[in-house]
């Protein structure tokens, strides 16, 4: 009986009925307490905009639609299964056509035409490249994170590695690896936090695993996707799919929660292209967060062997921040508590209930709001003497690094892999 009912031919779910459940989880609403910021308010506005084109073109609409982290918490909590964040992303696509809030990247559009090579990324001329000492390729979504305008607000600017990780990495393939493992670094570990990538590679070496780290991999495209820029999001996904797919991997490792989550959105970008859709799905099935891989392949003794001083009374107070991209949607993961249990010298505080407020480009366009969300997050922090913040996401890492400076706290912010190794 029950089964019959769940598979009714007509299903009316997917429509927002304004119940308000999203209010209890939306990080933006919880700071502003205004309905225009929460998913049901946005759904009301989107519905209104459909019948009022002048409103859908207004700067107010643009601004309201931009006030969303796309964290996916609302969709997760929605009892009626409304893909709220997808609706908001779709609205942004419409906006980006008429309002070029894009910051750069005219050359990126040629990516889909041009055969890719590392040479391509070396084209100079962009002011951002000058800013970033010509080290960050134009295709990196990180440009969206660090345009000139936002620097005045921001205290933290990551150092760009002299050599990107993929450039520096030399392949030492085994003869016949039992599993073909590809490491998709993402821009964070490739340009800013190369120590994360290095830590992963060294950890894998312990198990005699030498991953493929394709030099031609590009930005996952999430920053573009989040701003509604489908053209660039598709171009980047296409190149990544080509490069990863030709290696026929069994596993695609990621060290950034956001890149990991976005790999699962690649297939959605190719709804009209069955071939790429299919290949994207294949890659998504192989995607695995490096922390989870570690959990599966390292036992207690392996872990203890990683750290010299892992016993004795607690000396380190470590805060583990679980990124939104591992809390919601298709890439939900449990907290990797098992990885830390062997280390009694550290007190690990797990936190998996709050957003840090980064949201990629959101932090840039709504810096104050982003910091208010961070401040709420910090309330739980305040009366503990924290020495380390660990988080497996580039966005969260950047946010905490900024936050620690603002709070004048001497805390090491790093990827958990770096702490383990």
């Amino acid at each position: 009986m029950t089964k019959e009912l769940t598979i009714l031919s007509k299903n009316y779910s997917g429509t927002c009925i304004r119940c308000g459940a999203c209010m209890s989880v939306c990080p933006v609403y919880q700071v502003s307490l205004e309905e225009t910021d929460v998913a049901r308010g946005k759904m009301a506005l989107i519905e209104w905009s459909q019948s009022h084109p002048e409103f859908s073109q207004s700067s107010r609409f643009r601004q309201l639609i931009s006030r969303c982290l796309l964290c996916g918490a609302c969709a997760q909590s929605c009892p009626n299964q409304v893909a709220t964040h997808a609706c908001i992303q779709q609205m942004r696509q419409g906006l980006s056509k008429s309002h070029k809030e894009k910051i750069m990247l005219s050359s990126l559009k040629t990516l889909s035409k041009k055969s890719s090579s590392s040479q391509f990324f070396r084209t100079s001329g962009s002011i951002f490249q000058r800013l970033m000492s010509k080290k960050l390729p134009e295709t990196s979504g990180m440009h969206l994170r660090f345009p000139i305008a936002s620097i005045s607000h921001r205290q933290f600017l990551p150092k760009i590695s002299v050599k990107s990780f993929t450039e520096a990495y030399s392949i030492q393939h085994q003869e016949q690896p039992s599993k073909r493992i590809v490491y998709f670094t993402g821009c964070g570990a490739n340009y800013f936090f190369v120590e994360t990538a290095a830590a992963l590679v060294k950890l894998l070496e312990r198990k005699n695993i030498h991953p493929f780290v394709p030099k031609d991999q590009v930005c996952c495209g999430l920053p573009f996707f989040a701003s509604g820029d489908q053209t660039n999001a598709i171009a980047l996904a296409r190149q990544n799919i080509d490069i990863i797919d030709q290696l026929s991997p069994d596993i695609v490792l990621t060290t950034c929660a956001s890149c990991g989550a976005h790999i699962h959105q690649w297939a959605d970008l190719f709804k009209d292209d069955p071939e790429y859709h299919c290949r994207a799905q294949k890659i998504a099935r192989c995607q695995k967060d490096a922390m989870m891989f570690l959990l599966e392949s390292f036992d207690r003794n392996d872990l203890i062997a990683l750290k010299k001083s892992c016993e004795g009374p607690p000396k380190e107070n470590v805060w583990y921040h679980h990124p939104c991209h591992q809390r919601f949607g298709k890439t939900q993961l449990p907290l990797p508590k098992k990885l830390f249990t062997p280390f009694s010298h550290a007190n690990i505080h797990y936190s998996d209930s709050q957003c840090c407020g980064n949201g990629g480009k959101f932090q840039l366009s709504h810096f104050d709001l982003s910091m208010k969300i961070f401040d709420q997050r910090m309330e739980a922090f305040s009366n503990q003497k924290i020495t380390h913040v660990l988080t497996p996401c580039t966005g969260c890492q950047l946010q905490f690094a900024e936050g620690m400076l603002r709070y004048d706290m001497d805390v090491t912010v790093e990827h958990p892999l770096c702490w383990l190794f």
Partner: protein
């Protein structure tokens, strides 16, 4: 968009001097035009007062300039209590969200109306205390809204409803006067009980700005049972059987098969194929007592042909059972685009009769009907899912609702247990309240609000 605002520029300016920020743009008005009924009435302006003085100034201005004022908490009500049906000013109280004090010795808390119920639950629980009213929307509803609507929840069978936890109130009446009522003690009989009058008054008598709430010590132990039955009648019968045995559970929730189908697929322990109804039974109290009580309940339901009995292994499992239960109401939209939802109450022992009646109507009309709810206290959420654009279905549904209401009253029940009347039920008010009662109520409304500016158009049908 509606240009005939009851609020002219001078009034908006004055409001700005009171609260600092007044929202008047189309976008803002659209985002404050709805509540959980999903009905749509545009306010002319929206303000967010931050203290009692601002509320008082707003109501003094409103009285003078005679514009409608509608108080709003989270906008999660199910009968339209916070909808600005006559336009005017929406007073959103979410920024008055301080938990002012929690008095452990006297077990009372002073709170502002904008405190989110779920946040308050967590706070008192962290201090070993318990605030029982727990509407399905508690994760986002506000305490002020709960008091104004006299919200209930699943534990009324043992712990009562919001009304039983409101000791005192501070509220502002039209004109701006601030009134303080009630006590901070368990007892108090000085004059008329205005605190109780305001509780459940749906924002029509005054705007609550502070509440003194009664707390209990948190029960040491809670255990949750899920019981499935092959017939709806059997499950309904078991409800009063359990209580007749002298066992007072914290909760007995009843769900029919259509409601069960709206639960997430990963429901702990799964759902047996042949199940047609289920009960969620929760016992709380001292560990030893709870243990024996639960054994007694298990024996009783097994005797009564339950097809499966599962005890939640831990609090996490219990939590996911409740999450599944709370997800039902909004998830009903998988059946049809529109919902008519009535929270009738019948005497507990007559629930089987009610359930049979629903079944009879279901077969007679072919409409999708769902019954679930707080069976322990006789409060059943009776729901018809339909497409309101289908005139045949709409007409059938209206007839069904009429007969359900008539049957409920014939059983000695009431039309609303916890959602209030608002606008969605005002048309049926006459069925339960006789003209004399209605007259008295309207006189009370006049005493508080002679000009009829506060939440107009609610409870009493427009002549």
């Amino acid at each position: 968009m509606n240009q005939h605002s009851s609020l002219n520029r001078t009034i908006i300016q004055k409001l700005k001097t009171i609260t600092g920020k007044v929202l008047v743009s189309d976008a803002d008005r659209i985002s404050y035009a709805y509540d959980a009924t999903n009905l749509h009435y545009l306010p002319d302006a929206i303000v967010f007062p931050e203290n009692q003085e601002q509320v008082s100034n707003i109501l003094s201005l409103a009285q003078e300039a005679e514009f409608p004022v509608v108080p709003r908490g989270a906008g999660s009500g199910l009968t339209g209590g916070s909808l600005p049906v006559k336009g005017g000013l929406l007073v959103v109280l979410t920024r008055m969200n301080r938990i002012i004090s929690i008095d452990m010795d006297n077990l009372v808390a002073d709170v502002e109306p904008g405190v989110v119920t779920g946040i308050f639950h967590k706070r008192v629980q962290s201090m070993g205390l318990f605030y029982p009213p727990d509407p399905s929307s508690s994760a986002y509803s506000t305490l002020g809204g709960n008091v104004a609507e006299c919200a209930g929840g699943p534990s009324a069978v043992k712990y009562g409803v919001t009304r039983d936890y409101v000791l005192g109130l501070t509220f502002v009446i039209p004109g701006g006067d601030i009134v303080q009522t009630g006590v901070r003690t368990a007892k108090g009989v000085v004059g008329y009980d205005l605190t109780r009058l305001l509780t459940g008054s749906e924002g029509t008598l005054g705007i609550i700005t502070q509440m003194t709430l009664r707390l209990l010590p948190h029960p040491k132990c809670v255990q949750t049972l899920v019981v499935f039955y092959a017939s709806m009648h059997k499950a309904a019968e078991n409800v009063s059987k359990i209580i007749r045995k002298g066992l007072i559970p914290k909760t007995i929730e009843y769900l029919d098969h259509a409601a069960m189908a709206c639960m997430p697929l990963d429901f702990p322990g799964g759902i047996p194929d042949e199940a047609k109804s289920m009960l969620i039974i929760e016992m709380d109290g001292a560990p030893g007592q709870v243990h024996t009580d639960i054994q007694d309940v298990i024996a009783l339901v097994t005797e009564s042909q339950a097809i499966s009995v599962t005890k939640a292994e831990n609090s996490l499992q219990a939590q996911s059972i409740w999450q599944a239960r709370k997800a039902i109401s909004p998830a009903l939209y998988r059946y049809a685009p529109d919902k008519i939802n009535e929270d009738i109450v019948v005497p507990r022992s007559l629930i089987p009769d009610f359930v049979d009646k629903v079944d009879e109507l279901r077969h007679a009309t072919g409409l999708t009907m769902v019954t679930f709810g707080h069976a322990g206290d006789g409060n059943i959420h009776f729901t018809v899912m339909l497409d309101k654009n289908d005139p045949v279905a709409k007409k059938k549904a209206d007839t069904v609702i009429e007969s359900i209401f008539d049957y409920t009253l014939a059983l000695g029940g009431t039309l609303s247990g916890e959602h209030g009347i608002g606008i969605t039920k005002s048309g049926y008010l006459y069925k339960e309240l006789n003209p004399g009662e209605q007259y008295l109520m309207k006189q009370i409304k006049k005493a508080f609000d002679p000009k009829g500016i506060l939440n107009p158009g609610k409870i009493f049908p427009e002549p």
